[in-house]
Symmetry: C2
Subunit: 233 residues, 2 copies
């Protein structure tokens, strides 16, 4: 009879960092969720998100495929774990300047953190928000906003705008090189559209490729921050 799965992959809360006590085992020390997450992220970084299969991951860990299921319920849970890993690596910058600068610094750090794993964006989207790393960021943003004088309601609204914007940006910008190549071709294509049908796009097309990713982010971030500031007064 199956041992009825008595403990691990204990997700309650789903990203719980509690893990089985380690035990001296022959040769390799026992797996844990963190090892699994970092190994998974390594594969995603180096070979792309599609390359992450349980067999490939088991290989990387020097373990049989099914062993992973002791620590992780699903492939979905595995992906969640990896998402949390990415957010957990983001280091929150120290506070400096007024609240706008603080917000900008923080979101720059987020962008940088996400861009460190361009192949992982698909995994990140909508998954890592309430993981441990995401919560730390959440807390920081809210505390900046509350300290700036926003009401709880307004602070949450502002956070939503910022978070959703950053998410959107990383979703399109922070993608794998292949994907960005496709996007680039799309942009080039814009200059060849019929002028009578798409006059506005044609008017804007020449200036599109000019901005670097960082510049784009900076400008768009500014828009959101200024919009938030406008709500305060």
């Amino acid at each position: 009879m199956t041992p009825e799965r008595t403990e691990p992959h204990i997700p309650a809360p789903p990203w719980s960092s509690a893990r089985p006590r380690r035990r001296a085992r022959s040769a390799r020390p026992p797996l844990d969720r963190e090892q699994i997450a970092t190994a998974g992220l390594r594969i995603v970084d180096q070979e792309g998100a599609d390359a992450l299969s349980l067999r490939r991951l088991a290989d990387e860990l020097g373990v049989a495929p099914m062993s992973i299921y002791w620590h992780v319920k699903d492939k979905a849970e595995l992906l969640e774990l990896i998402g949390h890993q990415v957010f957990a690596e983001i280091e929150i910058p120290p506070l400096s300047g007024d609240w706008r600068d603080q917000l900008r610094d923080l979101h720059r750090a987020m962008l940088a953190g996400v861009l460190r794993h361009p192949n992982a964006t698909d995994i990140l989207i909508g998954r890592a928000r309430y993981g441990p790393g995401g919560l730390a960021l959440f807390e920081r943003i809210l505390s900046i906003l509350l300290a700036a004088g926003f009401s709880p309601e307004a602070a949450f609204d502002a956070y939503s705008s910022l978070y959703l914007f950053t998410l959107g940006f990383t979703a399109t910008a922070g993608r794998s090189p292949e994907f960005r190549e496709i996007q680039r071709q799309g942009v080039l294509y814009l200059g060849t559209l019929p002028e009578d049908e798409f006059p506005a796009i044609r008017a804007v097309a020449p200036v599109i490729g000019r901005r670097s990713l960082d510049e784009q982010f900076e400008l768009a971030l500014d828009v959101v921050v200024e919009g938030i500031a406008a709500r305060l007064t």
Copy 2:
């Protein structure tokens, strides 16, 4: 010998609407990319994005699985097609009010269009931007901004902010019911975090669940639009 694939799935541009001339065939009229896209989207809507396999799709079309490959290169291209389909269904509202109102109306329509296919968000993200539907939206947004007096550079920056924000919102909000249930539990969980570690989250937690999706969108959209307006002056 293989016929060397002489024509279709002709993607150049990738979403090209040119399609093989129809031919009177026994019984069923020949497939085309549009049929494939709508059937695929139907499956995604009704059974979720994971249920969309080529065999399932072939079933839906009353066709053998490999037949689809005459019209479509890849599963990736199939997904792209479906993404374009979603955007193509969005009807652009008539212009009314000042440019802010026009922008708001347009983005409300986008949100509504995406929410009509909550299971398709994963497919949409980063795919449909330069498809035919996406271009129409793009053109409209830019023309509003240019007419409002923005320079091409500023117009593109503003468009980026808006687009990325909307994308981010739909990525988290416009998801399948199951997913939203998970998010909801995450939010509830926020109220149980240790107060000394997450004071700001605890302060804000009580007001989080209060806002409807539409309200959240409306408020965040306002932030972005006001931020854009602030740049004009």
